[in-house]
Symmetry: D2
Subunit: 328 residues, 4 copies
Amino acid sequence: MPKTIKKVGVLTSGGDSPGMNAAIRSVVRTCAYHNIECIGIYRGYQGMIEGDFKEMGPRSVNNIVNKGGTILKSARSVEFRTPEGRKKAHENLVKAGVDALVVIGGDGSFTGGLIFNSEFDFPVMGIPGTIDNDIYGTSFTLGYDTALNTVVDCIDKIRDTASSHNRLFFVEVMGRDAGHIALNAGIGAGAEEILIPEEDLGLDRLLDSLQKSKASGKSSSIVVIAEGDKIGKNVFELKDYVEANLPEYDVRVSVLGHMQRGGSPSCFDRVLASRLGVKAVESLLEGKSNYMVGLREDKVILTPLEQAIKGKSEIDRELLRVSDIMST
Amino acid sequence: MPKTIKKVGVLTSGGDSPGMNAAIRSVVRTCAYHNIECIGIYRGYQGMIEGDFKEMGPRSVNNIVNKGGTILKSARSVEFRTPEGRKKAHENLVKAGVDALVVIGGDGSFTGGLIFNSEFDFPVMGIPGTIDNDIYGTSFTLGYDTALNTVVDCIDKIRDTASSHNRLFFVEVMGRDAGHIALNAGIGAGAEEILIPEEDLGLDRLLDSLQKSKASGKSSSIVVIAEGDKIGKNVFELKDYVEANLPEYDVRVSVLGHMQRGGSPSCFDRVLASRLGVKAVESLLEGKSNYMVGLREDKVILTPLEQAIKGKSEIDRELLRVSDIMST
Amino acid sequence: MPKTIKKVGVLTSGGDSPGMNAAIRSVVRTCAYHNIECIGIYRGYQGMIEGDFKEMGPRSVNNIVNKGGTILKSARSVEFRTPEGRKKAHENLVKAGVDALVVIGGDGSFTGGLIFNSEFDFPVMGIPGTIDNDIYGTSFTLGYDTALNTVVDCIDKIRDTASSHNRLFFVEVMGRDAGHIALNAGIGAGAEEILIPEEDLGLDRLLDSLQKSKASGKSSSIVVIAEGDKIGKNVFELKDYVEANLPEYDVRVSVLGHMQRGGSPSCFDRVLASRLGVKAVESLLEGKSNYMVGLREDKVILTPLEQAIKGKSEIDRELLRVSDIMST
Amino acid sequence: MPKTIKKVGVLTSGGDSPGMNAAIRSVVRTCAYHNIECIGIYRGYQGMIEGDFKEMGPRSVNNIVNKGGTILKSARSVEFRTPEGRKKAHENLVKAGVDALVVIGGDGSFTGGLIFNSEFDFPVMGIPGTIDNDIYGTSFTLGYDTALNTVVDCIDKIRDTASSHNRLFFVEVMGRDAGHIALNAGIGAGAEEILIPEEDLGLDRLLDSLQKSKASGKSSSIVVIAEGDKIGKNVFELKDYVEANLPEYDVRVSVLGHMQRGGSPSCFDRVLASRLGVKAVESLLEGKSNYMVGLREDKVILTPLEQAIKGKSEIDRELLRVSDIMST
C-alpha cells in the first residue's frame, strides 16, 4: 500500500522551455486543491543537493502562467550523477518532509529521476518540458508549440527581406537530434526545402530542388535546417557549397539560436502545462510512480518513465510528403 | 466508377479565420503537384453564382501562408439558398470545366455544399475553417489555435492593468454557441472563472467564487465569458449584477470582438491547413465526395459531411476540472 | 540652499501605462548610482498615507524593464485630496527619512504633487506616464508609443476580416479628451477616416467620405474614433446613423478597451523611461523641484509642473492633412 | 522656373527596411491627391535601367501600410555606376514621361540619385529608409524603430533562458558602422554592457564590468554588441576571451541577423513613412530637388542630399551615460 503523500517537491531541470512556469503553477495549485503541501526546489537536482527549497502556496505562483523561463531556475548537476550527491539530495527531501517529486524536464532529467527512485523508492513523476519535442510518450512537449511560433515569426521577418532582394536564406533551427521543429516550422514558414536528421536527402537533392525552384519562377527561397541534420556540413559550409554549385544564388545564413527557448508560452502550451501538472500530482496521490504524463491522441496519458527515456519520438512521415507538395 | 478529376475549384465561405489562406495555398499546390488545374472562386457561393473565378497556379499563392483573412474573400449568399441560384452556380462550374469543389468554412458552408452535391452529383470536400472550433469530426478547426493565442495575448495585457489596480475584469470572447475559446483561453490566461454555454454555473456560483478569490488573497481577477454563455445576462448586465452584490469589486468590461478573427496564423494552424488541403484534394482524386477532412487523435481523417454538420463538437470536460483547480 | 537629498520616494499614480516599471527601475538605479537611498511607495498617494513603503535597491528592479503595468501598483486616493490625508502622508515620508518624491503619472497625479509641495515645501519631480499623450511639456508620454503599436496590431487583425468580407469597421480607441492615439494609430493603421475631439468633422463629412471611398473602389474601410470625440453620438449610435444613411454599408463596431493600457513596453518607451528617470532624480539632486521631465525636440527637458498641468498638448495639425491625403 | 511635374517615379534601393511599403503608399497617394501620375520602378536603379516600371494608382497600394519589405523590391546595380547605365535609365524615364524621382534608401542610394541629378538635371528627392539610423539629417530613419522593437523582443526571449540558467549572453545586432541599434536596444533590453563602434571601451572595461555585475548579485547578464564595434574581436572571439579571463562565466552567443530587417512596421515607422512621403512629393511639386526629407526635433524638414550623405549621424552621448547608470 502506498504511503500517503503529504508534501510534493517540484523542480525544473535541463534546458528551460516556455510553459515550465505554467506547469509549476499547476503542480502547486493542484497540491493546494488537494490540501497537500508543496515545495519548490531551485536549480534542479543541484538545488536538491544543496537544500535550496521554498514553500509554495497558490499565491506563490500568481501571474507566472504567461512567463517564459522557469522561476525555479534550472542547472546541470554533476554531483547528482554520484551516489553521494543523490544521498545528500534524498536526506534534504526527507528532512523537509517531501514525499514525492515532480520533475519537469527532458530525458536526461527523467533518467536522474528514475535512478533516484530506484535507490530510495521515492515516488517520481515526470512532465516533459523541452522545445525539442523529442520525448517518447507525448505528441507535444511543453514549449514546443511556442518555439514553433517563435521560429515562424522569425522566418516571416526573414522572408520580407528575402523576397525584397530575391535571395536564398538558410535558417538553422534548434531541435537537438530531432527534426520536429525544423519540419513543422519549415512547413509553417513555407520553406522550399527542409533538412532534418531523420531523413538525409543528400546534397544533390538540395541542389536539384533549388534549381527547380528557380525554374518554377520562385524569386526567393528559405531552406530550414535542423541543428542536428546529418548532411555532413554545417550551415555555413552548406552556404559555400551551394554558392559554388549554383552561382546564380546569393545565400544568406541565419542561426536563430537561444531566443527559440524563451518567450511567453502559447495558449496551447499553457493549457497543456495546466493539464499535465494536474495529472502528475493526482497520479502521485493515487500511488503511482515512475511515469511521465503526456498528451497523445488528444488525451492526457501516462507512459512509464523508462519507456519515455528509451523510446524515440518519431517524426510524422506524412509531414515529409506535405512539405514536398507545399514546395511545388 | 468516378470520373477523372481535371480541375478543382476552391472557395472560402462564412466567417473568415486565420489559416484559410494557408489552406487555399495547399489546395492549389496539391493540384499542381498532381498536374491538375485549380481555380479560385471569389466570395464563396455568391462568386460561384456570378462566375467570379480565377485560374490559380502554384505561384498565385506565394507568400500567403502567413496572411490572415482570405485572398478569395468570403460572403454570405442568399441566392445560393434558392434552386435557381445553385443552378446558375453549377452552370458556371461546368462552363469553367471544374469537376470538384473544396469548400473551406463552417457548418453553414458545408450544408450548402451537401445540397449542391445532392442536386448535381458534384464532388465536394470540406475543410473546417472557423475560429470557434465548433465542428464535429476534428479536434481543431483552422484558426482556432490562432484565436486562442490572440485572446491570451489580449488578456495578458488586460491583466497588467488589472493587477496594477486590483480590479476585476470581465472579458467576453467569441465562440458562437460553443465554449471552446472561452474554456481554453480562460485556462491559458489564468482566469478566475470561465462562463461557457455548455455549463451553466449560475450566478450564485460566480459570486461565491469571486468572494473566495478575494478571501484567498488574490488582488485582481479575470473572468472570461463566452459570447454564447447561458447565464441569462449580457456581460454589461453581469457587471452591474456583480457590483450590486459584491460592492468591494470595481468591475471593468472588455469585449474582444472581431480582432479574434484576424492575424497571422500560428504555426499549428499553418501546418494543419497544409495537411488538410493535401488530404482534401487527394481524397477527391481518389473518387471520394461529401467528406470533411479533419485532425483527430493526431491523425488526418475523413468525416462524412452530414455527420460533421449534425454532430456536436463537445468540450473536453476534463478541462472544466483543470480550470477549477487552476483557480485555487 | 537646498538641503541635501539622501532618500527618494517613488510612486505611480492614476491609470497605469507600459513603461512605468522601466521608469521605476531607472529612478531606483539612478539613486543607487549616486549612492542615495530609494523607497518604493505602493498604490500611489494612498500608500503614502498608509505608509505602504518598501526599500528598493538596484536588484529590486531586476527583470522589470520589459513588464507592463506597475510593480508599485496604482490607486486613486480620495483621502489625499484632504489636508488631513496629505498631513498623514507627509508624516510618513518624514518618518521614513524620505527627502524628495518622484511622481509617475498624469496631470491629476501632478496636481496632487504640486499641492503637497506647496504645503510642506517637499521636493517633487514628475514623470509623465499615461498612454493618452495628453500632457503639455513632452512630445511623448510613457506608454503612448506602446499603445499606438497595440492599437495598430489590433486594427491590422480587424482589417483581415474587414477586407475578407468587404465590411466597414468603426474602431473606438482610448485617449480621454485627446486625439493623439486615434490620429497616429489611425494613420498607422491606414484608416479611411479618423474622428478626434480636436476636430469636429461633422456627420455629413463622414458620410461623404465613406461614399467617396466606396466610389473610389475601396472594398473595405476602417474608421478610427477617439473615445473623447465630439461628434455627439457614441460609436454604436454612429453605426446606426451610418447604416441608416448609407444602406450599402454593413458596419461592425470594435471597442478596443483596456488592453490598450497593458503589454510589454516598446523599445522607445523603455529608453524614454530610462532617460526620464535619470533626469528626474538628478534634477532633484541639483536642488530643483516642481518640474516635470519630458522629451521635446529630441531632448530631455524640464517643464514647470504648473505649466505641465495647465498647458494643452496640441495635436500636430500636419497629421490631419497627412491622414486626409493617405485616405485618397 | 522649374518645369511642371506631371509624373513621379518611386523606387526602393539598398537594404530593405520596414516602413518602405508605407512610404511607397504615401508617395503614390500624395501624387493621386495632387492629380499627378505615379509609376513604381522595380528593383531600384537596376529596374530603372531595364525599364521595369508599373503605373501606380491609389488602389495599387491598398493593404501594404503594414507589410515589411518592399513591394517594389530592391537590388544593387553595378550598371548604374557607369555613365552608360545611367544614360539608359534616363532614357527610360523620359520615354515613360517621368519628371521626377523619389528614392527610398540609404546613403548609397542617395549618392546614386545625386549623380543622376547632376548628369541629367533630373529632380530627385530622398527618403531615408534603413534600419541602421545612420543618416545625417533625420533623427529617425524608416525601419529603425521597428528594428529596435524586434531586437528587444528577441533579447527579452533570450533573457528568459539566461536568467533561468544564470548565464551570460553576447547578442550581436545590426547597425553597420553605427551603434544606434545597439545603444538604444541595449538600454531597452536592460543590457549589462553595450559595445558600439563610436566608443571603444576596451576589453579591460568589459571584464571589469562583468566582474562588478557578478559581485553586485546579478545572476545573469546580457551584453549587446554592434556588428561594427571596434573592439578588435568578433563576437565568438570575444566569448573565448571572456571565458578565458572570467572562468566563472558560461557565455552563449546569439547573432540576431537578418530578421532585424523584416517584420510589420511599428506605428511610429508607418506614421513617419506617411509624413515623409507627403513631404517628398510636395517638395518636388514646389520645384525643389536634391533634398532628403527627415524628422528632426519633432518636425519634418529638408536636408540637402549632399549633406545627408556626407554628414554623420552621431549617437546621443547622453544615452551612454544612461546605459551606464541603468546597469548599476
